[in-house]
């Protein structure tokens, strides 16, 4: 065999072969993933495709299964908190809050008002950071690379703010059962307010850059339409559900923490550019939610009450065996639920975490029938799935 490059005819394809390839129209089964950048983590899609048009895509998950639920059964209630960070590392504050609230219900602990406000501020900042990743990567996945660094630049400011609050940039471990670990540092309100003022202007720029961008809108309109009935049947949650026209937000409709104290709007998809529940609606809902989060943070800082940030929590947390508690919170990826059953000692007997990404993955096979391969990438991005949250 000659070295590559010495005989050009050896690497050239004959015209006959090219013709054969064009005429070929058999279906093939292609693996997309597990290490594919558009899968936002490690997920494999078994794509049954005939050229560009897919018959269907079957998601294969489990590559990031770290048996967090099993760990929860071998860990004391308070000691499990850092593990919840790893459930969803892009919006870890919510995973913290779900666990804290489940335990507070189980042990009937009343959280001080100031702690609830600290939670709201931290969570809403985290929601902005999470949505920035979502909208940035979604734009990148459909080919617009420019918005991504802009989104990440803003997210860095939030990472800095949250680092100042709890010492960590991703896996916060900030919340405690009965409150939060640290009070707001000196001058924190001013710095957060300065960021919010700055960020609201950036959002307007961001909308001009991408949300209302003609090419982007044309690319996403009418893509991956999820009707209202389908969304509820598949139990889609959060921004994905609201984009399908369901006017439901746990923070407003089933209020928890300090949310009843604040005024905010719940953006709902209307099909402004295409059909209700298309990929653009999901993108748009997230951009509006960032705006509303800014409003909530501003109000929370204004109304911030004085007082302790930790409740009096017994040193040993114990509940009668078999008692169960269920918590629901509105995470960045929607309704996140913790179901905990108390064990005989200071550990849970069973812990079940139901996350938004898990349900969103269940709908992909149905939506992928008959769409283009490139649209699958946009569809996954628009559902904002995070792989560790699916597998846990």
């Amino acid at each position: 065999m000659s070295a590559p490059g010495t005989d050009p005819s050896a690497t050239m394809t004959s015209g006959k072969e090219v013709l054969k390839r064009i005429e070929y129209s058999g279906e093939m089964l292609v693996n997309m993933g597990p290490q594919h950048p558009s899968t936002h983590g490690v997920i494999n899609f078994l794509v049954q495709t005939d050229g560009e048009e897919m018959t269907r895509a079957i998601p294969e998950v489990g590559y990031l299964h770290r048996s967090i639920e099993k760990i929860g059964e071998r860990c004391e209630y308070a000691g499990f908190m850092p593990y919840t960070d790893r459930v969803d590392y892009i919006a870890a504050m919510f995973a913290n809050q779900g666990w804290a609230m489940a335990c507070e219900r189980l042990f009937a602990i009343e959280v001080p008002k100031r702690a609830e406000y600290c939670r709201v501020i931290a969570c809403e900042l985290n929601r902005i950071a999470s949505h920035l990743i979502s909208v940035g990567t979604m734009a990148m996945d459909v080919g617009a690379v420019t918005p991504f660094p802009y989104a990440l630049r803003e997210r860095e400011f939030i990472n800095d703010l949250l680092e100042e609050l709890c010492g960590a940039r991703l896996t916060y471990n900030y919340l405690r059962i009965g409150g939060v670990a640290f009070d707001l540092p000196d001058g924190y309100s001013e710095r957060v307010l300065r960021f919010v003022d700055h960020f609201e202007k950036v959002l307007v720029e961001f909308d001009r850059l991408i949300t209302q961008n003609r090419i982007f809108v044309e690319r996403l309109r009418g893509l991956g339409v999820i009707s209202r009935a389908l969304a509820i049947d598949h139990c889609l949650v959060g921004p994905n559900l609201r984009a399908s026209g369901v006017d439901w937000d746990l923070r407003r409709d089933l209020p928890y923490s300090a949310y009843p104290d604040f005024e905010f709007a719940v953006p709902v998809g209307t099909g402004a550019v295409g059909k209700t529940g298309d990929a653009w609606d999901r993108f748009w809902v997230r951009t509006r939610e960032m705006q509303e989060s800014c409003r909530i943070v501003r109000q929370a800082l204004q109304k911030l009450p004085e007082g302790p940030v930790m409740a009096k929590v017994p040193r040993r947390l114990k509940a009668p065996e078999g008692t169960d508690a269920f918590s629901r919170i509105e995470s960045a990826r929607g309704d996140m639920q913790y179901y905990v059953v108390a064990g005989p000692g200071e550990m849970a007997h069973r812990l079940k975490i139901r996350t938004g990404s898990f349900n969103a993955m269940g709908i992909i096979e149905k939506l992928s029938r008959g769409i283009m391969l490139a649209d699958l990438v946009a569809l996954i991005a628009s559902l904002d799935v995070v792989a560790p949250e699916i597998d846990r």
Partner: protein, 196 residues
Amino acid sequence: MNAAEIHARLSELLGARAGTLSAANKDEAALIAPRDLLEVCRALKTDDALAFDALMNLGCVDWPGKSEIELVLHLFSYARRHGFVLKCRLDRAQPRVASVVPIWSSAEWLEREQFDLFGVVFEGNPDLRRLLMPDDWIGFPLRKDYEEPESWHGISTVRESPLDGFVRLDELKKKLAASRAETVKAADAPKPDGAP
């Protein structure tokens, strides 16, 4: 509607098959017989006053002491804005129950997950395969008596610990306290030669 009202309406529709409503727990739950599950779920979804259009959560709890696996369903209604919890107890040796996929599509993945981790067979689920574990995995990891295999396809699941002889901090504290008590005892004991 609250849980008691929902259960009253369910009893009106199905009689004794609506099961009994627990009162002791934080979230009241109706305990029903496994063979009635599909029928109860259908009534919960189709009845206009109940209208449970979403299955939020489906989980199993293993109770080896009672030799049963408890199936817990958290339902929610976006139309009526209320929630409800259903429970049913399955035989641990042969856990089988009807799938609720014909009623709520979200059950498909939730049931697959519970099949994978608990070995509960949901009859009628269109795609009952392992979800999180590899397809050829043996055993059901979230059962209480599960023992992790030592290897999988020649890959060891056990690693030698570099901290061999490592003592847990609380045990170390206990040991130290015991040895300190020994020293104090020895110091308090009268010296044989009467020295101070």
